[in-house]
Homo-oligomer: 236 residues x 2
DNA sequence: CCCGGAACCTGATAAAAATCATATCGGAAC
DNA sequence: GTTCCGATATGATTTTTATCAGGTTCCGGG
């Protein structure tokens, strides 16, 4: 498989434009290109484990990644998701602490690895990169706090509706415009919203009975966006 | 009241030593001293509201502050607490976005205000300050993610036990070594752990019946730390 | 094509937590 | 000291969610 795989070039990497690396100069991109590695990853592969010490960071060129944490009881909690253009593992690098989360590839993916030294060199050369990292950190923090409120105050039905809307934004839809491209299992959705798979299945069935969504196999289609927004209690 | 109040000096501010401002030089501290304001705040006063645009940041010299967010249903969620030495409102300043949280004074407090311009000047002059902010951001993020897992996976009893341990650390105890200095109402504790006051009261009674804590009026004493740790499911 | 395991689904039941109702306590204001 | 109101406490009930126990369907590998 690997030999069929073309290493993407940073200079022409479209996803990069939305990341913290959008501020790099041509020269700096060249340096990056020289020192980075890029690998094809199969679904299920783990980029790093919670508790590991970081040796670099990961740039998602293609594919999705889930970031999880293991609770006291041993259950996996999906803290957030990352997609093309997102950078994961940068936080442990800038804080000098072990990874807080485990990163697992969700679908076949092409992911670049930037060694710590290269990253720290760029950081020293380009102060704008620091600003980009801070922007990313503040955004991650705002989202984490928003999710805290949701977990603390909303019931499962509302959180699930909210999550379906997020998945539409995150994965996009098929050409029909309403079938989610998400391949998350019910178990994974449950892990994201803080419940068990049976409850997710039940509430999905409920939403389907009400005509808000349509279930076909694992596929979920959002056919009544307004009703789903209402179920999520998200103000227009 | 205000006329009785002595403005603290940054140079001799003990709480500062643990904050992101620990890296400032004598000269920079002088600048800070010159441009900052300092006020005495009564319990209940609001430093800023979620959605406001920031005009500066707040340095807690004395007293505690709760940082809250209002949920869809209008209920207040305590996202985190801040105490002497903590800096609040810095995030909106570095991200250039409105405040995500509302900051409310919990007990009579002395709080310094550093205007945006002064902060940005210091930021430009001293790169080490940037590193301090990042450290703070990564720490806040790690805590927010930890709390996410707790809210998603633990039951009320465990979260309450966890919170009592946090309150012991955060507020400290009376001279007896086990009575919490916290003045939080049951309602506020509920808002912190994501439940309602009745449930907090019930579980507190339960813990008291079991001999883990002692309730005397609003006061809470932790008399069996080991049992409380166990109830929180926190590994030694 | 068939097989097997994982994912999905449904029902019954139990547990957890919210809600509603009411009573008492405690501390601040007078 | 008395009054009064918010905070604390407890009970009864309902709602929400987890757990357990069975099915069925889907899908990849032989």
């Amino acid at each position: 498989m690997k030999n069929l795989f073309e290493i993407p070039h940073c200079e022409t990497c479209l996803p990069r434009l939305h990341s913290m690396f959008s501020v790099l100069s041509q020269e700096e991109l060249g340096k990056l290109q020289l020192h980075k590695g890029c690998n094809f990853h199969r679904s299920g592969q783990v980029l790093f484990y919670e508790g590991d010490y970081p040796s670099g960071l990961y740039c998602l060129n293609q594919g999705k990644v889930k970031l999880t944490k293991v609770g006291e009881a041993g259950r996996e909690q999906i803290v957030r998701l990352a997609r093309e253009g997102d950078v994961v593992g940068y936080r442990a690098l800038v804080s000098g602490t072990p990874y807080e989360l485990t990163a697992t590839v969700l679908e076949d993916a092409s992911i670049c690895f930037i060694p710590r030294q290269t990253f720290q060199l760029l950081l020293k050369e380009n102060p704008a990169l620091t600003a980009g990292i801070m922007r990313q950190l503040t955004q991650d923090l705002a989202r984490a706090e928003q999710k805290q409120v949701s977990l603390a105050q909303k019931q499962v039905r509302e959180r699930l509706a909210e999550t379906l809307l997020m998945l539409k934004e995150f994965y996009g839809t098929e050409d029909d415009g309403h079938t989610l491209r998400s391949r998350l299992t019910r178990e994974e959705i449950a892990s994201y919203i803080g419940t068990v798979s049976e409850t997710v299945i039940r509430v999905l069935s409920e939403l389907a009975r009400e005509g808000t969504i349509v279930l076909e196999g694992k596929k979920i289609s959002i056919v009544n966006l307004r009703a789903l927004r209402e179920a999520a209690r998200i103000p227009d």
